[in-house]
């Protein structure tokens, strides 16, 4: 459905999006996750043809964003950040206007507008002026507008920003429902949103893809938390020596109590082995826990790794870049 290859966007000389590549299949709900200013909005604007990429290419529904922008626009429904609307128009009037711009045939227009009003629960406010609507309703009008021409692909930029918890639940439920019929790319900087809605997550940090994986795959990755009383370096060495351990990280150290995060090879459950190790060495075991590593940790790690990589890159420019 969406093919993105080495897509880049330069603003003046700053790289907002840097050689981003990913593909999205039909019916997938993909979350673009990243800190503010990471390049999510710029990426989405290139997908929706609002901005032209500096280099690279993006093909949506078989149409290239540079060669056939009008065809792409027909296949894509877009909810821009902050949902800009004409304040003087009324809800139904606006949806009618947009459906005309989007070439919904006259015979189907009324049904299409009625349909999205129904699905986005806007029937009660259909004759209200857009400028007087609450943030939640504006968001729903934006969603209704994005899907009024029944596009293959929905691109939603921060669909739940600025909503209260109840509205967020409603909008998420709506997006999940839409996912049955449309391919959806949504952006957010809220981790739990991705976990609640998406099947796959693409992390974008400083304009680059830092992680691209299925959510169920991410969630099976687990970590063992161990807290023990004793000398931290010695405990660490002992833990590392346990067969099947991939990585040991010291996460906290207070007084003579140290806390470690242990990652096992192939996600094996090493809790018993590790506990035996600690106890055999005569250290007091205070906490032993198996935890699914949360998306948040992955996120923080990805952001950290990316900034380290970026610093290294800028300090030691590689030959190709110097040339």
């Amino acid at each position: 459905m969406i093919e993105v290859e080495r897509l880049s966007k330069l603003y003046h000389s700053a790289r907002a999006v840097d050689r981003v590549s990913f593909g999205v299949g039909r019916g997938e709900i993909v979350g673009l996750l990243g800190p503010n200013g990471a390049g999510k909005t710029t990426t989405m604007r290139m997908l929706t043809t609002f901005l032209a990429p500096t280099s690279g290419r993006a093909v949506l529904s078989g149409h290239d964003v540079l060669d056939e922008p009008l065809e792409v626009r027909k296949k894509v429904g877009y909810l821009p950040e902050n949902v800009p609307l004409y304040p003087e128009m009324r809800v139904r009037e606006y949806l009618n206007y947009r459906s005309r711009l989007k070439d919904v045939p006259r015979s189907r227009r009324r049904a299409a507008v009625d349909g999205v009003l129904e699905r986005c629960k806007l029937v009660d406010v259909e004759s209200r002026v857009l400028g007087h609507l609450s943030k939640g309703y504006r968001q729903r009008v934006g969603l209704a507008e994005a899907m009024v021409h029944d596009p293959d692909i929905l691109v939603l930029d921060e669909p739940t920003a600025g909503l209260d918890p109840m509205q967020i639940r409603e909008v998420r439920a709506l997006i999940r429902e839409l996912g049955e019929r449309h391919t959806i790319v949504l952006s957010t900087h809220i981790m739990s949103e991705v976990e609640a809605v998406c099947g796959r997550v693409i992390m974008i940090v400083k304009g680059k893809v830092a992680l691209d994986d299925r959510l169920d795959h991410l969630q099976t990755q687990s970590a063992i938390i161990i807290e023990a009383r004793g000398p931290a370096p010695a405990i660490r060495k002992a833990l590392e020596a346990t067969p099947g351990v991939k990585r040991v990280g010291l996460t906290d150290h207070q007084g003579d109590v140290a806390r470690f995060e242990v990652q096992a090879l192939d996600d094996a459950d090493l809790r018993e082995d590790l506990a035996r190790r600690v106890v055999q060495n005569g250290w007091a075991l205070r906490v032993l826990d198996l935890r699914r590593s949360s998306l948040e940790e992955r996120f923080v790690r990805a952001v950290r790794d990316a900034s380290i990589a970026r610093d290294a890159e800028s300090e030691y420019p590689t030959g190709t870049e110097a040339a």
């Binding site: 901005l51 894509v76 821009p80 004409y86 947009r98 711009l101 507008e145």
Partner: protein, 254 residues
């Protein structure tokens, strides 16, 4: 081009739902009323010889200072928000991600502006039948028609200029100031320049007279539908529309 009626309707609706257009229309209605009053007064005076620039109908519209001062204010007021407001509020994003072309957007905004401009002229035309049938002042209809055509093409040019400046910025005030400065040059400075040039007997007097809006309007007012002026107006309008399309296209490059 099939989206133009839809886009045009929205533009016109937003004109009439905002206060600016209504205020401008009201102001022009007042100017028309006062000028008509003055016209009737001057016609009621007997034994005054009229000719050329002193033609009463010429004084009614094209020779009337309030009319041109009104124009100077009305053109920026009507055109400043056309694109600038879409850029400021962000509605340009849904607009230009719908399957419409930049040409369609620009042409419909321009048509809406021209439509509003023509609405401003309507009150002036409305009074004339009363003068003709009620007042039995059988003026020549030809000059009125040629003045109408000339003022219309002039408006097409003015609105295109305002639209262009509006596309350059997200700040309506900046757009209005740039438009005002340009229209001011075309209306006021060109006439002042012409006066100065004739005083100095300079060779460029004729050139500046050609581009002087007041001179053009008085020519139309005397019944000469000078095609050179019409083609000047229309070619400036087309150039400005082309530049506006280019500005919107260039925006995609970021």
């Amino acid at each position: 081009m099939r989206h133009i009626p839809t886009l045009l309707r929205r533009e016109l609706a937003s004109y009439f739902l905002g206060p600016m257009a209504l205020l401008v229309v009201l102001a022009f209605q007042a100017i028309a009323l006062l000028n008509f009053w003055e016209l009737v007064e001057s016609l009621a005076r007997n034994n005054v010889g009229y000719s050329g620039l002193r033609d009463p109908l010429n004084t009614y519209i094209s020779g009337s200072p309030p009319f041109w001062i009104g124009m100077l204010v009305a053109i920026p007021a009507l055109t400043m928000r056309l694109v600038a407001e879409e850029r400021r509020s962000g509605t340009i994003e849904p607009l230009l991600t719908a399957p419409v072309t930049e040409v369609e957007v620009v042409v419909s905004k321009w048509l809406a502006g021209v439509g509003m401009y023509l609405v401003l002229l309507v009150p002036f035309a409305l009074y004339l039948p009363f003068l003709y049938y009620q007042g039995h002042y059988n003026f020549d209809v030809g000059p009125v028609v040629s003045l109408g055509i000339g003022l219309s093409t002039m408006g097409m040019m003015f609105v295109a200029i305002g639209l262009f400046f509006s596309s350059l910025t997200r700040n309506q005030i900046v757009a209005a100031v740039l438009t005002f400065a340009t229209v001011f040059m075309m209306i006021v400075l060109s006439s002042a320049g012409y006066a100065y040039a004739t005083y100095r007997r300079a060779a460029w007097a004729e050139a500046i007279q050609f581009v002087s809006i007041l001179h053009q309007a008085s020519t139309f007012g005397t019944g000469q539908l000078d095609l050179r002026f019409l083609s000047l107006h229309l070619s400036v309008a087309v150039l400005m529309l082309y530049l506006t399309v280019k500005v919107l296209e260039y925006r995609r490059e970021g």
